[in-house]
Symmetry: C2
DNA sequence: TTGAAAGCGCTACCAT
DNA sequence: ATGGTAGCGCTTTCAA
């Protein structure tokens, strides 16, 4: 058994308070006594104040939780999530705080438990919308939290982008280039949708709020160009990763009037689409592709995409958590997006 | 202020134990009483038992810490780290445990503090060697831990690969193809080495143990093929990511006798090298490239590489933590590696 | 500069 | 099935 602070105090012949001060408030005791305490402690194998006990007593933990829907691994699969995390980590580090990554299991009960058990001082919610009312559970904990979901409740701290108009900008880029037969490539279009073409009667049927908003923006742009929603191809990827994007595009039967462009809802999917198309020879290379996020791999691949500032999003979220704005109405921060045109998109080839 | 369990007990008119049981041991009280307690609690806004207090009382936390040297963001930059983390996460999830990602600041003092403050039940040490004796601090906490470093202390639980012979297999592949003028691309060759060619008198001068072991394996293979260490080009990348790999290769002046192959110490670097070389036209395309890890992006890129089982490494590490082998000598697990030959490597072109 | 006392919020044991 | 008691290990007044 590890010795406790108490044991050290007895060994040195001082009170527990003094030992505690030796660790947490060096200015409260003489340097020599402090040294003597620390030496004895080391010698006894005392590991320093127990973090849990300290947290309980102090009333705060020194860690913030980052909540993810779906498997934790998803957090790492998408390069954009990675950038977000990087930003959060950076800000947390500055505030001497660690990061507790909390995967939310699929069921609400499990998700609740995860939120209730997390020993943290606050939450960054990095996930979809409020599937299953998990936000209420978070609110119930009475801890500060920041959302990045597509639709924040009024009063909640939030950092995000205008998903709809961001997506519209990509779609308008394609319509301006003359594209009319376009495949919309996304994960999370419908629950458990596999790989391949999908019938989606109405954009509002898409449950995942981010995907819905992006597709709605796309629909806006094409409607303005005279292309009805039903004339667009919705292409489902089984996962949000490069391989799944490639697989989805491969599954798309060319047909008599093949699509001239693929508009993907994330860069990883778009890169997968490029993989598949470039492997498809001359034909494939002429298909335009756009992505979303502008992850680091996008530029070398020449991918046209909508840039959203990932790290800044993470940093901002953490900042909102650590330094809440005095005025609650300043707690919703919308970050700008930019269409970055590279070589993966071009005019419709004259056949 | 949030109500406590105590307050709920008073409101319902039962003892604290009973309320506690309502949450943690449903079988200890009648269903109806339990329901009444839960309802009252919800109504009062009681968030459920405070995790910190619970941990203190129970004596365990329900979270394991994953320790990283260098910036936390590094954890997410390398796709291999991501796979490892995925494996750990998976195992942790099965054990109802969360993951605390603990970035170790550069200085030893800061790193110590991070280890000492982490409220966890055990550690997975995912990083280099024992830079600065941080392992001793971990050991000092008296918590179980698992290392993945290149050189475990005897008795410590460890999971890893034979770095040296794994790297040798890649190098032998190149020598068998006739390559003699080869660039060795690595991050962490020397502390704070930037981008570009580096003079490394001796492999043993490389401080980072993993990099050292891999380079040593490469040296073995080339020595066997009659190529001295000093005839190999050591190419330093400023970071362990794709862009840095590309930058390093671009910085390599072709010279009169350009390298015919690039052997990278990680797949992300190798993919960067391919980016740079493929942009370099016909000439560049003829340079062979090999990587290390076999991350998901390697296959689509046709990258020849040494596969190490990332997720399995993570899963095994966590398993070792949660279910320690009865026999301590079984606590060191070496995972197999395989050379995966794809299209990025080929015979030296006859010029 | 040091120490004594009080309790952070909870759960596990042992009675009843 | 329910309650009383006794801390988990620490920090923080406040008094000396």
């Amino acid at each position: 058994m590890k010795p406790t602070l108490q044991a050290v105090a007895e060994a040195v012949g001082v009170s527990r308070s003094t030992v505690s001060n030796a660790y947490g408030r060096p200015d409260q005791l003489s340097a020599e006594l402090r040294q003597r305490i620390l030496d004895t402690a080391r010698q006894m194998g005392y590991p320093g104040p127990n973090p849990t006990a300290r947290s309980l007593r102090r009333g705060f933990v020194g860690a913030i939780g980052v909540l993810f829907t779906s498997r934790l691994s998803y957090a790492f699969t998408d390069a954009f999530a990675v950038r977000f995390l990087t930003g959060v980590a950076e800000a947390a580090e500055r505030h001497d705080s660690s990061l507790l990554l909390v995967p939310l299991p699929v069921g609400l009960a499990g998700a609740r438990k995860a939120v209730e058990n997390a020993a943290v001082d606050g939450f960054c919610v990095y996930c979809a919308g409020d599937e299953g009312g998990i936000i209420d559970t978070i609110r119930g904990r009475g801890l500060p939290f920041v959302t990045t979901s597509a639709r924040p409740q009024p009063g909640d701290r939030w950092v995000g982008i205008d998903e709809r108009s961001a997506a519209r900008s990509a779609a308008e880029h394609l319509t301006a280039l003359g594209h009319r037969r376009v495949a919309l490539l996304a994960h999370d279009v419908l629950p458990d949708a596999g790989t391949g073409r999908l019938r989606v009667a109405n954009v509002t049927d898409v449950p995942h709020p981010t995907t819905r908003d992006r597709l709605a923006g796309v629909a806006d742009a094409f409607a303005a160009a005279g292309v009805a929603w039903s004339d667009l191809t919705v292409l489902s990827a089984a996962d949000n990763d490069r391989a799944a994007g490639a697989a989805a595009v491969r599954a798309l039967d060319a047909g008599p009037e093949p699509c001239t462009a693929v508009l993907a809802c994330s860069d990883v999917l778009a890169l997968g689409a490029l993989d598949a198309l470039r492997a498809g020879g001359e034909e494939g290379r002429r298909v335009s592709v756009t992505g979303f996020d502008d992850i680091p791999e996008a530029a070398p691949a020449g991918l046209t995409t909508v840039r959203q500032p990932g790290e800044e999003k993470g940093r901002t979220a953490a900042a909102l958590l650590f330094d809440p704005p005095a005025d609650a109405s300043a707690g919703q921060i919308q970050l700008p997006t930019t269409l970055v045109v590279r070589t993966s998109s071009g005019p419709v080839p004259r056949s």
